[in-house]
Amino acid sequence: MSAAEDRAAVDKVLAGDTSAFEHVVRRWQRPLVNLAYRFCRDRGRAEEMAQEAFLRAYRSLARWRREAAFSTWLFALATNLYCSELRRIPVTTVGLDSIEPRDSRPIDGALADEDRDRAVRRAVFTLPQKYREALILFYFHDMDIPSAAHSLALPEGTVKARLSRGREMLRSKLSHRLIAPVLRKEA
């Protein structure tokens, strides 16, 4: 389904054919559920939030101004909803120090990488919301700052600044944790 088909489906819905909205849902269900999942890390809640986003999109279809792509409008609407939903009921985050390595045997190669990756992803959830949102959107949009800025309805400069500060905070949160295996090896 292309952008033109998105427009056609929206036109049909606006003309009263509610069932045409199914095309929109089928096309965008995966990105919207995955975006929600990145925000909350809970599959069930991600689907609930995505459903609410589709419902809200359905209600406000008439407000989509055609100069922006349908996807841009939809992602901005969904992001707005997800952010406010998570402000209302925040994700329960686990402190970094409470995450134990999966295996107590000496850390090497793939296992060390896996633990480090896990720690980095968890660390994102310990960041203040505005930095977390910027990081999540930036990586969701394949590191495209304009798209992340559109979704967050923020200027690109603000998103860049938040990304930079967010990464800095991640680095400082993770520094002791990522040095630890090296120190253990040396001992």
Partner: protein, 123 residues
């Protein structure tokens, strides 16, 4: 850690696939939404004259209060202490019956909020 490391780790997120019933669940919700009667919008046009009158009345009361306050404090000299200033404000407050006005406004606000909540179908 360098930015490249963060980019590499955070870009390779696992993708989840929506459950098989997701589309039908969304469409059921959409159909329900389509079948529901439209939400009655708040009648701003009708309410506007009343709101404007209330605003004017409030402004009038405020001006009257300020004038009364200035008149009294002029008659009693300037208040020497903070407590006497509060006492004269309280006196003006009592004279213009501001407590009753505040109570009436709070009740009106609450009744409008409740009506709007019922009208929008929220519990």
């Amino acid at each position: 850690m360098r930015n490249d490391d963060f980019d590499r780790i955070l870009s390779k997120e696992q993708e989840i696939i929506p459950s098989s019933g997701f589309v039908s669940s969304v469409m059921n919700a959409v159909q329900r939404e389509a079948a529901a009667p439209p939400v009655i919008p708040f009648p701003w046009k009708r309410a506007l004259p009343g709101l404007a009158a209330a605003g004017l009345a409030m402004a009038g009361i405020f001006v009257a209060g300020v004038m009364l306050f200035v008149e009294r404090s002029g008659a009693q000299q300037a208040p020497a202490t903070l407590s006497s200033a509060f006492a004269s404000v309280f006196e003006v407050w009592k004279t213009v019956g501001a407590s009753w006005i505040a109570l009436a406004l709070a009740l009106s606000f609450a009744s409008v909020k409740v009506s709007m909540r019922f009208a929008s179908g929220k519990k």
